[in-house]
């Protein structure tokens, strides 16, 4: 099978477009479908799918972009750590999008230009290797991400412990998806009719994760892949479930997602970390939605190693509507900073920085 051509086939797209229009014509009321994952958001915009939707179907982006949901207090602490980098002989290793996120006072990008050793990598194992190769330096990995990313970071910590690499640490700012979904559905102003559930996160969590959500809140949950046709299929299935009032979980991404998920990865994650209440940009503290080190791995915690809980932190920038955007109650162009003071060149909110951020995607791809 040729994934890159067959999952982008224009004729199949036409057929799915017809399905979507047919299902939409049977809806009694306009519906709002939330795609939770930032990669879905980007794929939707890049493929021009929004421009194909009937007027009674709206897609909104959810809190599924890890950089976007990182709270200002975490951002400020990570940037403060980079500010200490030269003095403490420290290398900061991070996923690329974090570099440009503005904190309350400065950013990793600006600290790097001043001389901080901030290195971008796609793999936490690179950071561990740098630590191994430079025993006279400290290396801290900025741990952001959902269940997709955090198990690899957990595995890296486990290896650091096995190999006695003590000059390596991780700033734990991880997020767990299911508690955030529940928080979203419990808030009064969020009116979502169905979810397109993330692909990669679901590979880890498994389709069963969403069954309680679908049952308790009566919302269809459709797991979809990332190719344009995957997403169009997901939308089409979600609409049909809504038309038939079936509030169930439907997995359209069976080539990757099982019912039970990747237990090995999730068990490893929970061996190193434990769920804690965590701050989300725009959503506040959500119970058990973050991860902290378990006692037996606490030595790798960059927050305690560098006393970062003492660092002065600021609050979200005034006027920034990232919170409402992340909850799907506001489209980015409705924010009065959007495209004016806040743009990808000089972003104010995190949703404008990350390539997976909803604001950046609107700005970049929307006519």
């Amino acid at each position: 099978m040729k994934y890159l051509s067959e999952f982008r086939d224009p004729d199949a797209a036409k057929a799915l477009h017809k399905n979507i229009e047919l299902a939409a014509s049977k809806l009694s009321e306009p519906v709002k479908i939330m795609e939770i994952c930032g990669s879905h958001t980007v794929s939707i915009f890049k493929a021009g799918i929004k421009s194909l939707l009937p007027s009674n179907v709206t897609l909104v982006s959810g809190p599924g972009c890890p950089v976007c949901v990182t709270a200002m207090e975490d951002m400020d602490r990570m940037i403060a750590l980079s500010g200490m980098a030269q003095e403490k002989n420290l290398t900061i290793a991070t996923f690329g999008d974090m570099v440009r996120v503005p904190g309350s006072f400065t950013s990793l990008e600006k600290e790097r230009a001043k001389g901080a050793d901030v290195r971008v990598t796609a793999s936490p194992l690179d950071a561990l290797r740098w630590a191994q190769q430079n025993p006279d330096r400290e290396v801290t990995f900025l741990g952001v991400g959902f269940e997709t990313t955090s198990p690899t970071i957990a595995a890296t910590v486990a290896r650091a412990k096995d190999d006695n690499i003590s000059n390596f640490s991780v700033y734990p700012a991880f997020k767990l998806l299911p508690p955030a979904l529940a928080a979203l559905l419990n808030s009064d102003d969020v009116a979502i009719d169905a979810f397109i559930c993330p692909g990669h996160v679901s590979v880890m969590l498994g389709a069963d994760t969403y069954r309680p959500v679908a049952a308790k809140y009566g919302k269809p949950c459709v797991i979809a892949g990332f190719e344009p046709l995957d997403i169009m299929l997901g939308i089409s299935v979600a609409l049909n479930l809504l038309v038939n009032k079936q509030h169930e979980v439907y997995n359209t991404y069976k080539r990757a997602v099982t019912d039970e998920g990747n237990r090995t990865a999730m068990d490893l994650l929970m061996k190193i970390f434990r769920p804690v209440d965590a701050p989300w940009r725009g959503l506040g503290y959500i119970p058990d939605s973050g991860l902290d080190f378990r006692d037996s791995y606490a030595e790798f915690n960059a927050i305690t190693r560098y006393g970062l809980s003492e660092v002065e932190t600021g609050s979200d920038p005034p006027g920034c509507a990232c919170g409402d955007v992340l909850r799907g109650v506001m489209d980015p162009p409705q924010c009065h900073l959007f495209g004016n003071e806040c743009n990808p060149e000089s972003p104010i909110g995190s949703c404008m920085v990350s390539s997976e951020g909803s604001c950046a995607a609107w700005y970049r791809y929307s006519e």
Binding site: A47, K50, K110, P344, E345, S355, S366, E367
Partner: protein, 338 residues
């Protein structure tokens, strides 16, 4: 900008940040009318001859890559910048910044390939300079060039000249150079290796201009920042809208696959041997045939047209049947690509 702002890597991306830097610093002090046209080369009248001049600096990492090296690239890039005005490139200079410790054998390979590339393009390297800096003050070798070409006086090709109805022709597959560099940097090998498309385009341009001498309004080579950036530059220089079709953009299968792997959008990947030409509708088919007759243009396609809505913006008709904006590059997708 405030007084304590510094140069960021993204200022070198060829995208919005680069433009901002140019406007805030350089255009403040360099304001010659030829420079203010913001083309890749300046055209000047000297003793009744029209001369095209272009300068460029090469910092690519790695200095040797599949399909070329920093030396051949510096000749190809210089020749292409001059050729995109319609001029015949005739001569160039080469200035070298060498880091203490660079292998002489590497320098010789680089110089040799510059000589070969210049010979192939019919361009003389007439002056050169060398500076050596202490270890760490540069990364092995940087090359600065200036290229000079002569215009025949009839051509009036410029980024300002795109007209509604013009067809946008792309000379071949995009993204080859960007992926060749990214994969050699990451040490990733593909079953079909992607090789840089680095090449001099002056003879391809000549073929095109001979076929449709009056029909070409704009030519540009989509180097750093890629096709998306070049189309945005032209849309805003000419105050016109550009509509392109995703299905028409030639892409190698290996490049599509690598883009998925690296998370790149091929529209923003650098090319070093491709050009886009804006050709009036009545000449478009003939122009396409001319390009396809040349080995460097055999995959040429008409990828879109200049439209009378969304001025200064580039819109893509997607494979899925939808539409979306193609914005300028933000941030640094891949620094030191050329």
């Amino acid at each position: 900008m405030t007084t304590d702002d510094r140069i960021l890597i993204s200022h070198g991306s060829g995208g919005k940040k680069s433009q901002e830097l140019t406007e805030r610093i350089f255009l403040k002090y360099f304001n010659d009318p030829a420079l203010l046209l913001m083309n890749d080369q300046a055209v000047m009248d000297i003793d009744a001859k029209k001369i095209a001049i272009s300068t460029d600096t090469y910092t690519i990492d790695p200095i040797f890559f599949p399909g070329g090296n920093i030396g051949s690239l510096s000749v190809h890039g210089t020749v292409n910048d001059v050729a995109m005005s319609g001029a015949t490139p005739v001569a160039m200079s080469a200035g070298f910044i060498l880091e203490e410790g660079l292998m002489l054998s590497d320098l010789e390979k680089i110089a040799e390939s510059m000589s070969v590339a210049a010979g192939e393009a019919g361009v003389r390297i007439v002056t050169a300079d060398t500076k050596v800096v202490a270890r760490g003050a540069a990364d092995r070798i940087f090359i600065n060039t200036t290229g000079i070409g002569i215009l025949d006086g009839k051509t009036n090709i410029s980024g300002q000249a795109a007209k509604i109805g013009d067809r946008v022709i792309l000379s071949g597959t995009i993204g080859d150079h960007g992926i060749a560099i990214a994969s050699s940097r990451e040490g990733i090998e593909f079953s079909t290796p992607v090789v840089s498309d680095s090449a001099s385009l002056n003879y391809l341009v000549q073929t095109l201009l001979e076929a449709v001498p009056e029909g070409v309004h704009v030519m540009r080579d989509p180097t750093r920042g890629g096709l998306a950036t070049v189309l945005n530059e032209i849309a805003s220089q000419s105050s016109v809208g550009i509509l392109i079709e995703e299905a028409k953009i030639p892409l190698k299968e290996a490049v599509i696959g690598a883009c998925e792997l690296f998370g790149f959008d091929p529209l923003y990947l650098a090319n070093e041997g491709k050009m886009v030409a804006f050709v009036r509708e009545s000449d478009a088919e003939q122009a396409l045939e001319a390009l396809k007759s040349h080995p460097l243009g055999r995959d040429a396609m008409i990828i879109g047209e200049v439209v009378d809505n969304h001025p200064s913006k580039v819109v893509l008709a997607t494979l899925m049947g939808g539409r979306r904006l193609v914005d300028r590059l933000t941030g640094d997708m891949l620094p030191r690509i050329c």
